[in-house]
Structures are given as structure tokens and as C-alpha cells.
């Protein structure tokens, strides 16, 4: 395997057979509870009318965004984006507010709704299998895929590969590599024969969804300081005015 500067996946929907080996592999590798999963197969819909039918399958897990919204949203900084790709989550910091779930445009983070305070209810999501990728193995989901619909490698190389595939079969693929730019770029790249919306992927701009809120947040302190100053000024002014008025009134009374 070539040296990987930026870990990424490429999912080719034309190859995926919805066998769910990746799901089983992830659950076993990461010891996921029997009633949970970090990865799921979406968009299993059959469209069309017999016999003109089409089917698209999408394997969905964390996109490992370049500008993760989960990370931007988390009040206590439980998320980390590694320089080489993976977005990870630290349960030791999490307060369980589930804002990250709201923030993630892909609906990726999941929460332990079934745990009380003794077990502790946490967030879970795909970790990119650091225990594997930093030990020379592919992520569990990728490694097992019987059709190589899921591949793993360096982001730039996978983007190049995705474009090559599309160029080689322009009749087959939608002319777009999802995740190359969406939401500011993701480390999970997708090519498909059916529209991405049919695979359940949101239509996202090239700017990450956290852009506006981060800008607003950056204005908070300056705004608070100026607003405080304005209010103090007003208060002082009013106070002065009232005092003057009172004195004036007093004087008026005295002079009466």
C-alpha cells in the first residue's frame, strides 16, 4: 500500500450489492452493541415499474469531513479532526447534549438512548478504525467488502481514481465525485450510477454548513464588549441626566 497522507474511502455505488458484510464487520471489529450500528446501508429503494427497474445502494457512515460540523458544534470539544483525516470522538468529555447530531448534515452521530446514568449514555460514530489503519490494515468495513465497492487509500489518489472511473464509463456514472467538495470536502468519496439524492445524500454547498455559525461565534466577544460599553454609557448618561434633573428640581424648589 502506498503511503497514506490523508486517509479516505471511495465508495462505488455501482459495485455495491447491499450484502451488509461491511456492517457486520464493523460491529464485530468495534464490538458494537447488538442493537446498534456505526454503518448502515441506505437507499435500498427499487424505483421504476416492472420491468424497467433501477436500484441504488449506499453505504453510509461518518464522512470524516474536512471541516467537521460535529466538531464545530460540540460545546465541550469532544471531537477531533486528525490532520490525516479521521474525525474522532472522545466520550470522556461528552455531556450528551446531542447537538452534534443536529449539526451533522449527514445524520451520522448516534446516541445511547437505551442507557441510564449508571451506564452513561454516549455518542457513537464511525472512528475510521484507527486500531487498524495505523497498523497497516484497511478499515474493517473496507477490508471485507466482497465486491470492492468500498476502497481505502489516500484522498488525492482516490479522487483521481474516482475521476478515472467516471471518465472510463461516462455512460454509466453520474459525472460527479460526491465528497470532493461537498461540505468543504469529505474523506468519504462517492461515485454512483443513480442520482446522489436517491442514495439519500443531502445536497450540500461547497462551504461547510458550520460556516455561518462559526462566523457569528467569532463576533460574540467583540459584540458583548461593545454592547456592555454602550449599556454602561446609557446607564451613566441616564443617571447623570436624572441627577441633574433632580438637582434642577431641587433648586427650583429651593428657589421657589
Amino acid at each position: 500500500m502506498t503511503e497514506i497522507k490523508h486517509h479516505a474511502y471511495l465508495f462505488d455505488a455501482t459495485r455495491c450489492i447491499d450484502c451488509r458484510a461491511c456492517m457486520v464487520a464493523c460491529s464485530v471489529e468495534n464490538n458494537i452493541d447488538m442493537d446498534k450500528t456505526r454503518i448502515w446501508v441506505a437507499g435500498l429503494g427499487i424505483t421504476g415499474t416492472f420491468p424497467d427497474l433501477q436500484r441504488g445502494t449506499m453505504v453510509y457512515h461518518c464522512m470524516h469531513c474536512e471541516h467537521p460540523d460535529c466538531m464545530s458544534a460540540c460545546p465541550v470539544g469532544a471531537y477531533t479532526k486528525a490532520e490525516d483525516g479521521p474525525v474522532t470522538y472522545n466520550p470522556d468529555l461528552c455531556i450528551g447534549c446531542r447537538y452534534c447530531m443536529n449539526a451533522c448534515p449527514f445524520g451520522v452521530p448516534h446516541f445511547d438512548y437505551d442507557k441510564g446514568i449508571i451506564d452513561g449514555a454516549f455518542i457513537d460514530k464511525c472512528t475510521f478504525c484507527p486500531q487498524r489503519i495505523y497498523n497497516g490494515q484497511e478499515p474493517a468495513c473496507v477490508q471485507t467488502c466482497p465486491t470492492d465497492a468500498l476502497e481505502y487509500g489516500d484522498r488525492d489518489e482516490l479522487i483521481a481514481k474516482a475521476h478515472e472511473r467516471i471518465a472510463a464509463h461516462p455512460d454509466k456514472y453520474i459525472q460527479h465525485v460526491y465528497g470532493e467538495h461537498e461540505n468543504g470536502g469529505t474523506s468519504y468519496l462517492i461515485i454512483s450510477h443513480v442520482p446522489f439524492a436517491d442514495l439519500g445524500l443531502p445536497d450540500l454547498p461547497e462551504t461547510p454548513v458550520n460556516e455561518v455559525s462559526e462566523k457569528v461565534m467569532a463576533m460574540t466577544i467583540p459584540f458583548a464588549l461593545s454592547w456592555g460599553a454602550v449599556l454602561s454609557g446609557v446607564a451613566a448618561g441616564v443617571n447623570l441626566y436624572n441627577k441633574n434633573k433632580e438637582e434642577a428640581e431641587k433648586k427650583a424648589e429651593e428657589t421657589k
Binding site: 450484502c19 457486520v24 442493537d35 416492472f50 466482497p146
Partner: protein, 727 residues
């Protein structure tokens, strides 16, 4: 597709049973001594062990990760040609079969009524003594033939066969007549081999799949080959009344009318021969019976086939042309479980012959390496006793061309019920679930009722074990040794990753113990499992330790094929037999011929069956991981048809055939012909010993009517017609 409220409720219930534990919380610790001795596992109980999957018959190579003496992960072994580093979902979930909380871990002896599920635990001594004494009693009273044996393909099967042949019974039921008898017998009659290997190289341009749902009925490496071929731009034409996942990836899907694949293929032969599109030099040199074939297929024009198949004549003609243009880089895939109708043998012959005519031998087809490598050794053993009793399954007196070791299982069952030509009294079953896998479940249970003694070797209380008198727990495939598996120029090893849990034992051990108790010890001349494998390895000059380390040993492939470059076949004529004298002599047509399949009456549907990726047959529905990722089984019906009948998705329906009735939920979908319904096999278990699977779905076997192809002996599963109404 649709919201599945019921599924959610159902999962809530089952989740309550299973608990929301992660896998790791379920695994009891067990250190594998053998693996530790081999140095795979360190003092902490951590390491990697190479072995082989047994979640289906494909047997992919795997590498098991062990932590603290527990298997925590399986990965595909990149060096194994069947897995190439990948595992399918069943293979991935394999450790959950091993750690299934419902595993049977001690021998069980029935105490309640049959089928009541009341057992008591027993020691191996007691259980084996009981089995041996019952078998001996039956043999002494009624003859060895009164004892029936059956088992489904697995690595210890040669030892199982040892047991039955040494015991002296001719009655052997294998899964093959339930599976691909039509294909094997057709290939044997044509090429003189059971199944040629298929070559998916870069040049392969055209693949014709007849009901081989390779993208759901997975064989890891071949599934990968097919997807890669499609990706490369090979054209795939797929015949199936259902829009399966294979259909969705195929270049062209032809929703053929069930049972009429024969007409389609005869029409292809008609064009290819009529328009002289075949490879003349190959046909002249390597085949016999071309003229008879030509004469026969002359009447099967595409126009004739069109109304039968529901495929336009032009399409059939076009496909014949395309196939011929692509030849020899064109493959007509035989398919596996193509026992759909009583005419399936001819369908298979037509497919096989189509390949032969195109001269694609050596290009897309090749002689497949046998699983019994000539290069391996074996313990010495005496000759088997001569058996004179007739077989209950009618081979060969009723099924003259069905090979002995394959048999006609459903006929065996029918004749147990009939007591014809004699009564059977005992049944020894290993690694098989005939209560579910044979058609007409009620009849199989009836057959059980005729018997004095039934013993089953399994790893869980499957339905068959549930109805047995003694259950012998085998160690799971991650806990045991099995005989070696030759693949290409290597032999692969299955070795224990962990120690067997409870009292479970390997089949090698169980059969030897029984053999000795039956006075047949000479047929089991090995000390233990390792000794058996050492004897197998002897001619190769490799030590078991070497094999354990790598998981395989190099073994020169037994030479086959003519050295001179001349192709020869193991048929009576030494050629590819387009016309088979053997068939003609026993009164069958020597060339494929049209045999009209029966039609459902007004208001009836063809009942189709077929695999899904997340289960194997009838034995993995209790695997909690697979259960977790499978959809709730529902009966497919074409959405328009359903609407006409006033039925909607999730409605409960009553499905009735000649032999049975079931209730199941409906899935209204576009993905099936209007004249068909489909059910996923393997649900509706009877055994309450399968806590995860019990109560889920309904059994198609309960409504399947037993039909048998008179030539190959294969069961005809799509020939069952059912009525459907709101329950």
C-alpha cells in the same frame, strides 16, 4: 422502501431476549491450546490464526484475531483463492455462530415426546453408547439398510461416508438433489465432470446467467469476479423472474417465465446452429452427436420460444448473435440451484451444450480441481462390505443416471414414509437440516414419525435436532480440525482458533468414537485429529506445524487433461456428448428436448425461493449478528397484482399449496413478475431451541410440493403453485 413498524416491534421483542450486549460481552474466555502450541497465540492469549470459513460450502480462507483467548474478529485470508482477503456477511458473522448462546454444548438425549423439545444432558460415553447400541439393534433386526444416513457437503464428509459404507447401508441422502443435481448430472452426461471451473479473465465479454443470483447467493471470489467483469464492461444477461440484486447490476434483465429457461436456451441453440454461428472446428474435433442436436433444435425457433418465456423473439435472436460474437469469451453459466422444474435437467444440458458449441473450453471453462486431491494421503482402511440391498431413493433403478454418492434425497424421504421397498428404522443426520431443506416439511416430519431412532450431529438445536432422539454437539468450525481442503495447487487447513466450548467435539472425533463402538475401528485409523491430518500430509513431505503456521501447504495439482494438447473427456465416448447414448439407452432423450412445464391455474402463483446475502440456507437465522442486519422476511408479490387483490405491504396473508398452508406478511414490490410470489428460505423455524430465530417469518418448505426431475433427481422448487389471500 416502506416503513416497517412491525419489524421495529419485532426487534424490540427480540432485542429484549438477546439483550443489548455487544458481542464482546458474550464471549466466554477459552484459550486454544493447539493455536498456542503452534505459536499463533502468545502467553496473554492474543494472536492470529489462519483457518477456513464454514458458514457456507464455498469455504473462504480466514484469519481469526484472538484476544484473551477469545475470537474477536475474522478477516478474509488474502492468500486463499476463495476469499482473496474478503469475507461475505455470513463469513464476517461466523464467530457469532460459535458464540451463539443457543449452542448445544453437551450431548442431549430426548426425554419428552418427539418434537416436544425436552432433552436431558448426557455424557459422551452414554450418548455414544446409546447411538451405537441403537444402530446395532436396527442392523441386527432389520439389516444395515434400515439405517438411513444423510449429510450436507462438508470437509469431514469422507469420514461420515466411511461410517455409513462400513456400516453397510446404501441409503445416503445429500443436499445435492435439493440443490444442483440437474447441473451436475447434466455436466457429467456432457463433459464427464460434475462442474467445470469458470475463468473470469480480463477478456471475458459476455455472461449469460440463468437464475444464478451470484450477488446474493454469494460465493465470495466468484461474486467479486462477476462485479469486476461488469465494471470492466462485460455484458451480463440475467434470467430470473425476480429483480434480484444481480438483476440490478446486470446489463440486461429478462424476467423470464418460470420453468421456461429451457425454451429460451433451445431457441439460442436453434439460432446458433441454424445460422452456423458455432465454432465448427471445435465441434468437429471434440463433440459427438451434433447432427442429432441440430435436428432436434431446428423446431425451437425464437418465435416459438417467445410466448413461452415472455421474452420477445428479437431479443432472443439478438442475444444469440451477441453471444456468438463474443465467443469464445462468452460464458453461459450453469447456475447452481437451478432445480426449478422437472425439465431442469434439459435446461442444464442446453446451457452446457451452448458452451461446448462456442468452443469456449480452455477460455472461459476449465477442468476444476477436485476437492479430493490425489496428492494427499489417507489413513489405511479395509474395503467396504458389499451392499446388496436396494436404495430407498430409487437410484439407480428409478433414477438410472443419478450418481450413487449423490442420490435423490426427497425420494428417500418419500419412501421412508411409504415403507417401499422396505421400512427404514433409523436416521443418522449430520450437518444438515432436512426438516427445512426438503420440500413438504409435513411429510419429512411424517417420515421421522416412522422411525425408531434419530440422531443428529449439529452445533445448535436446529429443527431436525429438535425432532431427534439424540443430539451430538459438534465443535464449531472455529473450534476444530477438519480434513484438508485442496484448492488449486494448495491444500488449506481448518484448525481450532479456540478450544471447543463445553463438551463439543470435532466430527473426526465423533465418527471415530462411533466407528469403534460399532466394531468399525479399522475404518478410523488415526489417533486424533492432528494425526489424521499428518497422515494426509505425509506424501507432501510437509509437517503439520508448517501448515498450521501458514494455514496451507503447497501441493502439486493432480495432472489432468491430455498431455498432447488433445482434449479428452471422461464420457463413454471420450468426447463432449451433445447426444448422450447413456441417456438414450435408459429411455431419456439423448439431446435436450422441450418438455412443457406445468402452469399455475387461474388465481395461483409460482412460489419462488432463493438465497439472501445475510443467511445460509436454514442454519444461520439464529446468528444474532446476521439477524440484526437482515430484513424481516416477507413474501414478495408484484405491487400491481397485490393492489388488484386488495393486498398491501405488511398485510398478513394466507398462502396455500397442495401440501400446506402458512401465514406470512406481504411485501408489495415491483421486483417480481405478476404471476410469481417469492419467499426467503430458512425462516419459520419449528425449534424453540433457536431463541433468536424462533417465531420469525414463515417456512416455504411447509408449502413446497415435492416434484422431482425424472432424469437428474433434482427437486423442482419453483413448480409449487400457491394461492394467496388476506389472512
Amino acid at each position: 422502501m416502506t416503513k416497517t413498524i412491525s419489524r421495529r416491534d419485532f426487534l424490540k421483542i427480540s432485542a429484549a431476549g438477546a439483550g443489548a450486549l455487544a458481542l464482546g460481552q458474550m464471549l466466554p474466555a477459552k484459550v486454544a491450546q493447539a493455536a498456542r502450541a503452534a505459536g499463533h497465540i502468545n502467553a496473554e492469549g492474543d494472536g492470529f490464526v489462519h483457518s477456513m470459513c464454514e458458514m457456507c460450502v464455498w469455504r473462504c480462507g480466514l484469519i481469526a484475531k484472538v484476544v484473551d483467548g477469545r475470537v474477536v474478529k475474522l478477516d478474509g485470508n488474502p492468500e486463499h483463492p476463495h476469499s482473496r482477503g474478503n469475507l461475505c456477511p455470513r463469513g464476517q458473522s461466523g464467530l457469532m455462530n460459535t458464540y451463539d448462546p443457543d449452542r448445544v454444548l453437551t450431548p442431549l438425549i430426548r426425554v419428552g415426546k418427539r418434537g416436544e423439545g425436552k432433552f436431558r444432558q448426557a455424557s459422551w460415553e452414554e450418548a455414544l453408547d446409546l447411538v451405537a447400541s441403537k444402530m446395532t439393534e436396527i442392523k441386527n433386526k432389520y439389516g444395515a439398510e434400515a439405517m438411513v444416513f444423510s449429510s450436507t457437503h462438508n470437509l469431514s464428509q469422507p469420514l461420515f461416508e466411511n461410517l455409513l459404507y462400513a456400516f453397510g447401508s446404501p441409503n445416503y441422502g445429500t443436499q445435492r438433489s435439493l440443490c444442483f443435481n440437474a447441473m451436475i448430472v447434466a455436466n457429467t452426461m456432457t463433459y464427464g465432470m460434475e462442474e467445470p471451473g469458470r475463468i473470469y479473465d480480463d477478456k471475458l465479454k459476455y455472461i449469460l446467467l440463468t437464475g444464478r443470483n451470484l450477488l446474493e447467493a454469494i460465493s465470495t471470489s466468484e461474486t467479486h469476479d462477476l462485479i469486476t467483469a461488469i465494471d470492466r464492461g462485460a455484458k451480463v444477461v440475467y434470467l430470473d423472474p425476480r429483480y434480484t440484486k444481480t438483476a440490478s447490476k446486470a446489463t440486461e434483465w429478462l424476467p423470464i417465465k418460470p420453468g421456461n429457461d429451457l425454451a429460451f436456451h433451445l431457441a439460442l441453440l436453434n439460432i446458433i446452429i441454424g445460422e452456423k454461428l458455432y465454432n465448427r472446428s471445435f465441434v468437429e474435433k471434440n463433440t459427438i452427436g451434433f447432427d442429432e442436436l441440430k435436428k432436434e433444435v431446428a423446431r425451437y425457433t425464437p418465435e416459438w420460444a417467445s410466448p413461452l418465456t415472455g421474452i420477445p423473439a428479437e431479443t432472443i435472436t439478438r442475444i444469440a448473435h451477441e453471444f456468438a460474437d463474443a465467443a469464445p469469451h462468452a460464458l453461459a453459466h450453469n447456475g447452481w440451484r437451478t432445480s426449478n422444474f422437472v425439465n431442469s435437467f434439459h435446461t442444464q444440458r442446453a446451457i452446457t451444450i451452448l458452451n461446448a458449441l462456442m468452443g469456449n473450453w480452455g477460455v472461459v471453462l476449465t477442468e476444476a480441481g477436485s476437492e479430493e486431491s490425489g496428492a494427499l494421503g489417507a489413513p489405511p482402511q479395509p474395503a467396504y462390505p458389499r451392499i446388496s440391498a436396494l436404495r430407498l431413493d430409487g437410484v439407480p433403478w428409478k433414477y438410472p443416471v443419478v450418481p450413487f454418492k449423490i442420490g435423490v434425497f426427497q425420494e428417500l424421504r418419500d419412501n421412508i414414509v411409504k415403507g417401499d421397498p422396505y421400512n427404514a428404522h433409523g436416521w443418522f443426520i449430520s450437518r444438515q437440516n432436512p426438516i427445512q431443506s426438503l420440500p413438504d416439511r409435513g411429510k419429512t416430519i411424517e417420515a421421522f414419525g416412522k422411525l425408531d431412532f434419530i440422531v443428529t450431529v449439529d452445533i445448535v438445536l436446529n429443527d431436525t435436532a429438535w425432532f431427534s432422539d439424540v443430539v451430538l454437539p459438534e465443535a464449531s468450525y472455529l473450534e476444530r480440525y477438519d480434513p484438508l481442503l485442496p484448492v488449486g495447487d494448495k491444500v488449506f487447513l481448518r484448525q481450532p482458533v479456540i478450544e471447543p466450548q463445553g463438551e463439543a467435539k470435532s466430527a473426526l472425533w465423533i465418527y471415530k468414537q462411533l466407528g469403534e463402538r460399532l466394531g468399525l475401528g479399522d475404518y478410523f485409523q488415526y489417533e486424533d485429529e492432528e494425526d489424521y491430518i499428518r497422515q494426509q500430509l505425509k506424501p507432501l513431505g510437509v509437517t503439520l506445524e508448517d501448515v498450521k503456521a501458514k494455514g496451507y501447504a503447497e501441493a502439486p495439482e493432480a495432472a489432468h487433461g491430455g498431455e498432447s494438447g488433445e482434449l479428452t473427456w471422461n464420457t463413454p465416448s471420450g468426447k463432449i456428448e451433445l447426444f448422450s447414448d447413456t441417456l438414450a439407452k435408459v429411455g431419456f432423450s439423448g439431446v435436450p428436448t422441450w418438455d412443457e412445464p406445468p402452469q399455475p391455474a387461474e388465481g395461483q402463483f409460482f412460489l419462488l425461493t432463493g438465497k439472501i446475502a445475510t443467511s445460509t440456507q436454514f442454519g444461520t437465522q439464529n446468528n444474532q449478528l446476521l439477524h440484526k442486519y437482515s430484513e424481516e422476511p416477507r413474501m414478495w408479490m408484484n405491487a400491481q397484482t397485490a393492489a388488484e387483490l386488495g393486498l398491501a405491504t405488511d398485510d398478513w396473508v394466507e398462502v396455500t399449496s397442495e401440501v400446506g398452508q402458512i401465514h406470512t406478511q406481504l411485501l408489495a414490490t415491483q421486483a417480481i413478475r405478476p404471476d410469481c410470489v417469492y419467499m426467503t428460505p430458512g425462516y419459520g423455524h419449528l425449534s424453540k431451541g433457536l431463541k433468536t430465530a424462533y417465531g420469525v417469518g414463515a417456512s416455504d418448505s411447509a408449502v413446497h410440493v415435492t416434484y422431482t426431475d425424472p432424469i437428474s433427481g433434482g427437486q423442482a422448487l419453483s413448480q409449487t403453485f400457491v394461492t394467496v389471500k388476506k389472512a
